[in-house]
């Protein structure tokens, strides 16, 4: 049953808030500066607010409820101790402009996290400022732009693979670059012949995800790096898929000049239903001067924020970083340590390969080779045989208690279902998921309408998205 809006609940005069009595004289603002329109906010008591949002939470599916094989999103377990640590008043109560001398705990944590992430990725320096992956991309690509400006070179173009995340071309455009796509080859990697043709002295960078969005490692990464660097370009690393290789290989060693990470993917901080995340950026030596300000440094009297950097791209946000997100990632790395991270990556890859192996008979596997932490199936066979599409299979999985995989991405695979189990899933959990998908493949043949009408167990059926976009209703009158 649908929950009413909070605005439709309560009664005049109710409130879920208390304040001490005013202990100073009362003043007023001049009429010309005062709000004229009445403020129409809910009037509800605390029990009503709590019940409302608790009931809303029950309409939501979180990772703590079940398997969440959402490809490219790395929905790994979010440790509870990290939430407790992040809620300590000694951290939540610190103002970002508090004197550095009295915020040494926060600064030390950030400094050490920068160091750890640099070590894990093989980069020379890190900034923790960006608030999300795409924000990290923006930061990184602005540094690439600043680098060429400093060299006095005009390079107006950026190459992205046709399998890239949408944020890559969108970021390049936000930095003023023209975007050109490079095709993928038959093995799912960058087509070297096509790249060779595209890579010219007007090209600033290529943005790569490695393993790529098909879950495949770019086997020719060293040749790509040599080609791009040979013609004066930069290699940008989208860290969305770092979980596959942490502890096993480092983007810095592959030749990447600038990278971003997603702490809310690889480093176990929760996604929050769409944020907050954090997208730290790492750079090779030659890009260090362009890092955004402030930079956390270690000085003679402790940890400090360095603002005096003449070649910096400037600020990409207010204050320092999404501190408590960084804190959770730091706690995660301390819990796992080197062997733990390496084991987590290996388990993620093993889980994905196991699922791929067990599912490839029932579903088309467009790139049949060893995958990394995720793989992409296609529902093309089901579509041709019974008209069942990827979305129908995804929605039917909800009836079996699962969050669906990523659908229709990457764009180069028709009817794509991108599955990323992560290391957090047990073998029996994987087996149950396989059974569900095999059963659904049977259902697709025997009773396609069952899938087309799925999900059946949820509070709502499929929404009319066309109406939502045609006649937008995005707030209550």
């Amino acid at each position: 049953m649908a929950e009413k809006l909070i605005f439709e609940k309560g009664s005049s005069g109710r409130s879920a808030f208390s304040l001490p009595e005013l202990d100073v004289p009362e003043t007023t603002l001049p009429e010309r500066l005062r709000r004229q329109e009445p403020l129409r906010l809910p009037e509800v008591s605390e029990p009503e607010v709590v019940r409302h949002y608790t009931n809303l939470s029950r309409l939501n599916y979180g990772l703590d409820q079940g398997f969440y094989p959402l490809g490219s999103c790395t929905m790994k377990y979010n440790p509870k101790i990290n939430e407790l640590l992040a809620a300590m008043p000694a951290f939540t109560g610190v103002h970002p402009y508090q004197q550095e001398k009295y915020a040494q705990g926060c600064l030390r944590l950030l400094y050490e996290l920068q160091d750890m992430l640099a070590g894990i990725t093989g980069m020379k320096a890190m900034t923790l400022q960006p608030a999300a992956g795409a924000h990290g991309e923006l930061t990184g690509m602005l540094m690439v732009k600043a680098y060429y400006e400093a060299l006095g070179q005009t390079r107006g173009r950026v190459i992205v693979p046709d399998s890239a995340h949408g944020t890559n071309p969108a970021t390049a455009a936000m930095c003023g670059f023209d975007v050109v796509e490079v095709a993928s080859n038959a093995r799912g990697g960058v087509d070297m012949v096509a790249l060779d043709k595209l890579m010219d002295d007007n090209t600033a960078a290529i943005m790569l995800t490695n393993p790529n969005t098909l879950g495949l490692f770019e086997e020719e990464i060293l040749d790509i790096a040599a080609l791009v660097h040979g013609r004066g370009g930069q290699l940008y690393y989208d860290g969305a898929n770092l979980n596959a290789i942490m502890g096993w290989a480092r983007p810095g060693d592959m030749g990447f000049d600038v990278i971003h990470l997603n702490l809310h993917k690889t480093f176990a901080t929760p996604h929050g239903g769409g944020g907050p995340g954090a997208g730290p950026v790492g750079v090779a030596e030659h890009l260090i001067p362009f890092l955004p300000v402030p930079v956390v440094v270690r000085g003679s009297e402790g940890y400090e924020l360095d603002y005096k950097r003449s070649q910096s791209i400037g600020r990409v946000r207010s204050f320092i970083c999404s501190f408590t997100v960084c804190l959770k990632a730091y706690a995660y790395i301390l819990s796992m340590s080197s062997d733990g991270l390496r084991q987590a990556a290996a388990d993620a890859v093993l889980n994905a390969n196991y699922l791929q192996e067990r599912l490839k008979e029932a579903y088309k596997l467009p790139y049949d080779r060893r995958c990394m932490h995720e793989f992409v199936l296609s529902a093309l066979r089901q579509k041709e045989e019974s008209g069942v599409r990827a979305i129908d299979i995804a929605k039917r999985l909800i009836d079996y208690g699962y969050h669906p995989p990523t659908m229709y991405f990457p764009l180069i695979v028709q009817e794509a279902l991108m599955i990323e189990p992560t290391e957090s899933e047990s073998l029996e959990g994987l087996n149950a998921f396989v059974e569900a998908l095999l059963k659904i493949a049977e259902e697709a043949e025997e009773n396609p309408d069952l899938l087309r009408a799925a999900p059946h167990v949820t509070p709502i059926s499929r929404p009319d998205e066309t109406q939502a976009a045609r006649q937008p209703n995005i707030c209550l009158d």
Binding site: Q65, F217, G247, H271, G273, G275, L334, D347, L427
Partner: protein, 446 residues
């Protein structure tokens, strides 16, 4: 390892199914010279007990202070039940609500958030959140350039200096120009702002209350001139102030954007915070970021979905209105609960107390020997004070005496070496304000 359910036996079974002997073979696609023999150098793995001990040590290296600092991050009271609801893992461990059938909780809360932001600002449409106040304002400026097809944005020097720096970074990316407009008595200089308004201007960005806490008064004249030249007005507001202050819509703003941290988010050394962005409905399809819309399901039941996605990066790629993907959904939920909990009276009372207590503090501090208010005019929650000596020295003195603030303004405005920006929220008691005054008086005597 307590987070890894796969056992050595499981691994062996899975490897055998794959026809492999050892895990290393899974990494065969990585060129040999790139493959590491061991993981990175890190401290030994810590148990929960050790983690708690380590964090207690870090916590001890911070010092608890009574906060009289604002400058874009504010120490307001956060009702306990907000944390309790945010702790529901159905919310915080979910991904972006791509699957509406199992995400109605988050989607409805975002719809409620959008409604609350519209009602707070008086504007017609809001998106589902941005990273922070600085980013929201920068995206608003890009949006204005896109709407007008013009390449110059003018910003008042009274806008938060870090927001201006962020604006500069974002605009530079696309080769757009940022013009900073000077101040007069801490307020926007009307004549200079009018002079900057021409047919090439995309938008004027004004903040009220501005960085000094001052309420801008000359917006109507600016609005008129901007309309003559078909340029947009972007206002950055503090959401608490909107409990009592004239709204962006009432000032005639086309777009409003700002920081949502005061609405129930902790200071947390600067983040995660919440950028909010609202505008007039005719610009809806030019907005960046996620938007939730109401619709019906196939059985006619009302429900919510992510909508107007044709603007977004995953559909439109390099032609998207922004590259933003993950935003601050959980922070938006906190803000929604905060606004719902306070209600109209609660928000107006909180805003009123901020006003009253800041006025009390200002009167008190400006009677100290050699101290005076830097600017004149009505202000909200924050005020600048000119000291007879160096503000950085005073800042250190206050910190040593357990007080954070005021903020030395010379950090942002090089000429203001003797100025401090004080902030007083509803959380500060008269006793604390008197103590602030006493500590400052001691410094003056020292």
């Amino acid at each position: 390892m307590r987070y890894l359910p796969v056992t050595p036996e499981d691994r062996a079974e899975m490897l055998s199914r794959l026809g492999l002997d050892e895990v290393e073979q899974l990494y065969a696609d990585i060129p040999g010279e790139l493959r590491l023999k061991q993981g990175p150098h890190l401290p030994p793995a810590q148990s929960e007990t050790e983690l708690e001990r380590h964090f207690a040590e870090l916590a001890d290296a911070n010092r608890k202070q009574i906060c009289f600092m604002g400058g874009g991050a504010y120490d307001h009271y956060i009702p306990a039940h907000i944390g309790a609801i945010l702790g529901r893992s159905e919310f915080y461990t979910a991904y972006t609500p791509y699957q509406p059938e199992i995400s109605q909780g988050m989607l409805q809360s975002i719809y409620e958030y959008q409604t609350a932001i519209c009602r707070l600002t008086g504007l017609e449409v809001s998106n589902a959140s941005m990273y922070d106040g600085a980013g929201a304002l920068a995206e608003a400026a890009l949006m204005a350039c896109d709407i007008t097809g013009r390449g110059r944005v003018a910003v008042s020097a009274g806008v938060h200096p870090e927001y201006r720096q962020t604006l500069a970074t974002y605009l530079h990316g696309q080769g757009l120009e940022l013009q900073v407009l000077p101040l007069q008595n801490g307020h926007i200089d009307l004549q200079r702002a009018l002079a900057a308004t021409d047919d090439e201007l995309a938008a004027l960005v004004v903040q009220t209350p501005n960085f000094f806490g001052l309420l801008e008064e000359d917006i109507p004249a600016l609005r008129e001139k901007l309309s003559e030249h078909k340029a947009l007005l972007i206002i950055s507001s503090d959401p608490i102030s909107l409990g009592i202050c004239r709204t962006p819509a009432e000032w005639g703003a086309d777009i409003a954007a700002g920081e949502g941290q005061p609405l129930g988010l902790s200071l947390s050394f600067g983040g995660p915070y919440l950028g909010w962005l609202a505008c007039r409905s005719k610009y809806l399809r030019r907005m960046p970021g996620r938007i939730v819309g109401a619709t019906v399901d196939h059985d006619g039941r009302s429900c919510y979905v992510l909508t107007l996605q044709a603007r977004e990066q995953h559909i439109r790629r390099q032609r998207a209105s922004s590259n933003i993907c993950s935003n601050e959904a959980l922070m938006a939920l906190a803000a929604t609960i905060y606004l719902a909990s306070l209600g109209p009276q609660g928000l107006s009372r909180v805003a009123g107390q901020c006003l009253d207590k800041a006025v009390y503090a200002c009167e008190k501090l400006s009677t100290l020997p050699g101290c005076s208010r830097t600017f004149s005019g009505p202000f909200f929650r924050e005020f600048a004070l000119t000291l007879p000596g160096d503000a950085e020295e005073a800042f250190s003195w206050m910190a040593e005496h357990g007080i954070a603030g005021g903020l030395p303004l010379g950090r942002f405005y090089p000429g203001m070496k003797r100025e401090m920006l004080f902030c007083v929220t509803e959380k500060r008691s008269r006793k604390e304000i008197d103590m602030l005054s006493e500590v400052l008086a001691q410094w003056l005597r020292s």
